[in-house]
Every structure is written in C-alpha cells, then in structure tokens.
Symmetry: D2
Subunit: 254 residues, 4 copies
Amino acid sequence: MSFESPDFRSDISWSTPSAITVFGHDLVDDLVGKVNLGDMGFLELTGRLPTPGESTVFNALTVSLVEHGLTPSAIVTRMTRYGAPESLQSAVAAGLLGLGSTFVGSVEGAARYVQEATLDGDLTKEAAGIVEKFVSAKAIVPGIGHPIHKPLDPRAERLFGLLDEAGLRGPQVTLIREVARQAGDALGKVLPVNVTGAIGAIASRLGIDWRVARGIGVMARAVGLVGHVLEEIRTPTAPAIWREVDEAATRHHG
Amino acid sequence: MSFESPDFRSDISWSTPSAITVFGHDLVDDLVGKVNLGDMGFLELTGRLPTPGESTVFNALTVSLVEHGLTPSAIVTRMTRYGAPESLQSAVAAGLLGLGSTFVGSVEGAARYVQEATLDGDLTKEAAGIVEKFVSAKAIVPGIGHPIHKPLDPRAERLFGLLDEAGLRGPQVTLIREVARQAGDALGKVLPVNVTGAIGAIASRLGIDWRVARGIGVMARAVGLVGHVLEEIRTPTAPAIWREVDEAATRHHG
Amino acid sequence: MSFESPDFRSDISWSTPSAITVFGHDLVDDLVGKVNLGDMGFLELTGRLPTPGESTVFNALTVSLVEHGLTPSAIVTRMTRYGAPESLQSAVAAGLLGLGSTFVGSVEGAARYVQEATLDGDLTKEAAGIVEKFVSAKAIVPGIGHPIHKPLDPRAERLFGLLDEAGLRGPQVTLIREVARQAGDALGKVLPVNVTGAIGAIASRLGIDWRVARGIGVMARAVGLVGHVLEEIRTPTAPAIWREVDEAATRHHG
Amino acid sequence: MSFESPDFRSDISWSTPSAITVFGHDLVDDLVGKVNLGDMGFLELTGRLPTPGESTVFNALTVSLVEHGLTPSAIVTRMTRYGAPESLQSAVAAGLLGLGSTFVGSVEGAARYVQEATLDGDLTKEAAGIVEKFVSAKAIVPGIGHPIHKPLDPRAERLFGLLDEAGLRGPQVTLIREVARQAGDALGKVLPVNVTGAIGAIASRLGIDWRVARGIGVMARAVGLVGHVLEEIRTPTAPAIWREVDEAATRHHG
C-alpha cells in the first residue's frame, strides 16, 4: 500500500482553517461544552456519541478505574517524576506501561470470551465451555476473583446496577455471572465477578471491541496518574521509597 | 525521611476490604454513576469535586484536546501498535511521550505566567511585563498564536464563552487576552489566544496548579489515542508510513 | 513477603562510600576501562563476564541489531523528539516501545523453542516437532524467513560464522537450521534463518534465558535510537512526515 | 518541506537486498564481529568509528553508568515488569523515562558549559564565568558534587586516568576540575567532579554534541535495566515493594 491508495485513510478527525471535525461532529459547535470527557472516550471506541444511559454507564466504567491509591503504576509515576520533574507526560506514560496482563489486561480477556460466545442461546452451556477452556489449561479465568473484595466486588455490583437502571441489561452480564459461578464450583472457591470482569462484560454490551477494551483502563488511569504527580510534587514519597528499597534489598551486601 | 515518618503519606485513596475511598469520597457510593470522567480529572487536580459550572468548563477543556487527527502523537501510537500489537498501553504511552514543550507544554507556560501575575491590580501593566519578558528573551509567548486558526482560534473563543456562561469569568482571561494583544502589537502580527493559552488561563481560574496544567492535555490525549489504536487495527496506516518514509529519506543511497 | 524477608534481595549491585560492586566485580577497578559495553550486557544477562570468544560473539549479536535505518522505532523516536525536544530519554523510550512481537519479539520466540528442545538427541525429530506445532496452529515460525534477505540472511550467516570461529558451535544452531529447512519444505517457500532467529539460537548457546532474549535487541536499539535523535536535531524529518501523513490520510475529507 | 525535498533525508543507514550500510560501513563485513557495542554507540554519536584509545575511553564512559543497583529507574523497571510481564521492552522503556534532569541530565549540563567555553584561552577565567553564572542563579553546577563519594568520585577519577593513558588529555578536563575547585570555594564545600561531570567533559573531548550527551547514560542504562528484569523474574521484589509502600503511605487512613 502507498499514500496514493484509497485504503490509506483516517476517518477520525480532519481540519480546515475554520473547522475541526471529529467523527463527523463539529468539535467546537457540537462537542465542546456539550459532552463530557467520558463521552469522548465512548465516541473514540464506538464511532458514535452515547445515549444518556450509555453515557452514565460508560463514564461509570472509567470512574471506577481512575484511582486505587498507591498501585504499582502510581509508584512508577512517582519514581519517574523524581528523576524527570520537567516531564509530567513521561511520569504518566511510565505508569501506564504497567497496565498489562497482570491488572487491566483482564478487562480484555473477559471482553474477549464474552464477545466470542453465542449470546442468543443456552448461556449456561456457553459458560461451561468458557470455564472448561481456562480450567483445563490451568489458566486464571479473566475477570473473576479478587484478593480482597469477596464474596462480591462492590465496584462490579455497582456497575451492573447502573446498567440495569439504564435499561441496558443484556446477556453479556448473565453470561459472566454464570462463568463466575461455575468457575467457583469447579475450583471450590468463592469467585466474584471482579471490577475488570464487569467492565469487560459491560463494554461488550456497549459494543466496544474487545481488542481495545483495556483502553478503558488506560484512559481512566491516565486521569488518575496526573493526580499522583501533583501529590508527589507537594509531599514527595520517591526519595524515601528509593532509600528503603535499596537498603532492604542490598542489606546482605557491602 | 523513612517509611516511619509522618510526612511519608498519601491522601488520595485508600482501601479496606469493604470500601475504597478517593479524596474522602466513597468510590462506589458517591462517585461511580454520579460523576463523569472529567469530574474525576478535576478531583485529581484540585482535591474537590467541581460545581456544575466548573464541571461543564473543565470537561470542555479536556474535550477540546482529545482529538486533532493524525498528529505526531497519533502517528507514534500507530507505529508503536504495529511493532507491539499485544500492548495497547505501550502504544498510548508512546504517543503521550510527545506531549512536551512543543505542543501541550504551552498550556503549562501560559498557566504559569497567569498564576505568577498579580491579578487584582493593573492587568494592562501586568501583561506588558509578561510580554516584555518573553520578547526580550526572543522567546515565543506560550499560549499565543496559531499557524492555521487566526485571527481567532475557534476552540479558545468557545472555551471563554463557556466560562462566561458558567458565571466564572475572571481576571485570568482578561490578562491573557491583553497579553495576546500586546504581543501582537510588539511583533507586528495577528496573534490570537490559542487553545492551549485559553486552557492555561481557564485552568488557572479553576485553581489548577500550573505545574500540572499540562496534565489536562495528557488526560485528554490518552482518551483520543485509544481511538487511533482501534482505527489502526481496522485500517492500518503504519506499514505504508514506514515504506514511504524510508524510501523518501534514503532514496539518495543504495 | 516483606522487606524483612531474606528472599527480598538484589544481588546485582551494591555500594559503600568507597566502592561500587557489580555482580561481584569492583566497578572501578575491574570493569571500567577493562570490559566493553557489550560485555556488560553479557554480565547482566548471565551473571558472569564473557570469555574472549563469547565477548566477540555477544557483541556481534548486539551490533547486528543496533541500526536498520528508518524503522518504525526510528520514526517514533524522531516524532517524539519533535514534540518533546527537552527529553532525549523520552524519544528513545518511545522508540523502544515498538520492539514487541512484530520485530524483536521473534528473538524470544526462537530462543524459547531452542531452549525447550532436547538438544542431545535426534535434532531432525526435534525440529519436526517444532515445525508441526507452529504450522498446525497456522502460526509463523519465529526466527525464520525475511521479506528482503533470501535465500540467506547475510547477518544470520555472519553470526553463525563468528560462533564457529570462536569454537562455540553447538546443537542450537543445527536445530534452528533444521527448523528453517523443514518449515520451508512444509510451506513450499525458501525460508532462511533470519537475524532474529540466529540471535535466538546463539543466545541459547551462550546460556541466556529466553525470557530476556529480546533484551539483546532492546539494548542494541537503545544505542541506535540515540543516533536518530542526533540526526533529527541536525536535519529534521518529523515536520515533513507529519504533513505528508496527515494530508494523505485525510485528503478525502475537509 | 516535503518528501520531495532534497533536505528530507537520512544518512545513517540504508539497505539493498544484498547489503546493509551503516554510516558508510558495510554492516556485515565491516562491523559485525569487528567492533563492539560501545563502538557502535560512538559511531552513532560522532558518525565515525573510534580509534583504539577512543574505543577504550568511550566504552569506559558507558560501562561506568550501566549499573548502580536499585536506583529509581531499576525500581520502575521492576514494578512495570510486574504489571506487564509480557513486555520486556516496556519495563526497560519505563525505567529510562526517569533519566531526566535529576540524574543523567547533569551529563548534558556539564557537556554544555564545557562546549560553550573558549578552551584555548585562560581556563581559570572561563571556570570563574561558569561558576558565577550558576551560583548567581542559585542553581546547582552540573557535574559537580556527590552525596556519597567525596572528596573524589572514584568513577570520575578512573575515567580521567583512562583518558590520560589513551593520550587524549585535553582542556575539557582541566576546565571542569577548575570549575569544581572554584565552585567548592564559592560554596565552602568539598565538591568533586562527579561521574556525570567527568562523562560530560570527556564526551566533549571526544567530539560528542552536548545535546545528545545524556544519550550515553540512556544507552548504558538500557543495558543494565535488562538485567533487572531478569533478576525480577527469578526473585521478585515488586509485590513486596507495592505492599510496603501502600501500607506505609496510607497507614493513617482506613
């Protein structure tokens, strides 16, 4: 393919001297002052603006992931800010780099099996197939279980409630609840649908492609990590973390 | 300082098995489903939730920066996605790394001179001092001028209008307009307050510390760059960019 | 685990006011001025200094990956430098983020199947098992094939020759050559061992864990990307790339 | 400028189906197996291969910066690896992002004042001008002073010794030693030339542009950070760091 090919194109946004168009909307007239930041995220992920119910639910998904205190990502952002105080964007970017398979990646995993399932048939049977696939591979079922929050993850339950209130209930939620129940039975544990599982299922309900579902977490944490830069400027933690870690890890030497 | 010091602390968020608290609010009961993603950004940057007027204005600031098409950041995100398709967060983080002094950095520069000015006195004189400082150093005045949008940047004017509608007009806007007017006179050009200047001035009005003002752009672009990953998955541009750039740049050789 | 646990430790390096120790060597007396940068890479990856033959071969692995012109990574580094000229490390880091599964990741894939094979038995049979596994999954065999360099990748052949000259020939190379031959037969194509395959096999011969084998490419490209920052400072390409890409991709609009 | 402009070009590397050329050298015939990784760094930074003496000195510069234990960068790399174990390059890139003004940035600062000085005149007077400039701005003189290593930084002294042994002594070293002496007098402290100052001065002697001098540190730390990924895989520290930091920082809450 070359620049001359009609397939080389972008339909997200374009500008003229007098207007900026974003997914077909005039940025200044139709978006700025009329929609919120979460709505823009929905627009980026689906190509259309959300209905009021979808807006509430999608914003709730992101809000639930903005902040969880001194996570590894927040520690990374703070340590990076210490070394490069002139570069706020580096501190945030460094923190985002840890949003891989261990944490936010499970949003993607959950959204994937929900989207690959047949949703207009026997959901109990679909769930059984999903659980069997992960359990037989001795793999963790994405979106299920939490080290602290059980028997129910309060964030997950809240999100499901909001989806119901918006009249958007769908088989995606029924399916992941059934996956959690059957996985718990298979493993002899209490396994709630956790917040990343709920987000994966609800994102699927909203039509968001599983291949970018973890982007919901990336958007949200970018917002939260800026707050950690600010607190780090005012009450630094990085020098103490460095000192304590270095002393603890090398105390046998030197 | 050590971990034992009372100064080693974070007041952003903490968890118990039953609750997650964020800036003093219960995440599940008070934030999820009640505030939007932009409001969370305001909360991270100021420590408090916005009033309805502040919510509209702050969301507008972020919405205006989410998307501007195939910027250098979007190109970086797409090229990175090509090399590491398994890592959406890397593609977004790479794109954010270009939000330095050339583009979003001017939000910080504008917010800084607005916040360092005396706002309850003679704003014409304050503006003169600001312009003199930059012009005598042969430096660009941050937040002023735009290669395409002139005599007025439509995004800047829209944001100022929203601030007025919310009853939040303040001397910060008067000051930066005066800076633009005087800088234009000094340089013999038409220099509008551009969108980054408007954001710097309005962020100052909202009480956001200039040291994290560019974080507004970082939050916003993180949202937009996820959309570029999605479009790149569906209609790739990176292989063609690679080919065209490599051929053009090395055509004299080999 | 806590900081008090004897398992919380690092044995890479520690300092006293008078000495810095790195993997048991005195940095100033034993390393600086006595070993080269590639030897330090070998030390980091194996915990010991290389023999002269190992030094030649390992340095050659890295040298072969330092530079390949205007790759996607180099373009990313240059675009990032344009947006954040104050932050050389951001430009290099952004470029490294594209070293994922598409390019350097195949070093890891090749090293993995070489290291998981039984090397003291029938290598033809081992190769058949490896090829069967990838072909039946319709997956690309890592380290095999190249769009430009065929029937042989000159960098791969050079590296294998150096290994022989150093008296370090081993079954790892025999195995990957056999994998390439059988994969070519199975797919009816000419598939050379490419440079990433050669590096994966040779790294295995040198005792480098496949889980960090792509680190050889990361070390090497970090060196090369600094050179692209320098050329970009002197003869910029980023503004032209931005303009050409934006115009080509959005020419149907506006 | 457009792709058609003769100014749009890259002279670093280009390929044909049979050869890869790097700064005019045939990669396979002239570089792989003949030069080491540090020599490639010198080539990227100066456009030419080093003499044997320059090779020893430049490799020594990089070797001195590869490893310094559990620095903030190493902690960042380890925390990022914990969240994204599938992405070694992300862990290394995240660690590099902290190589800003606080640490490696001083290489750049030192190289800059050395390169902006007049070196064929009165170096005592040149040094006085440099010290006056920083002291009057109440700024730290880059490359001078160390919290642990004093009165002399052993790495700096070793590097200066190697430069002498290679017959490359020059006014750059005399100047920075004089800067350190005068700065110490002015501030009433013992201020050695530290390792970053020595590297800045020696890089200047070798003809490396100050605008990319911090790249020496970036190259070196990329090598070291891969080793931290490997140790983190084998003996993890990140989960314990997370737990201890979170508990210490939020112990007043919840």
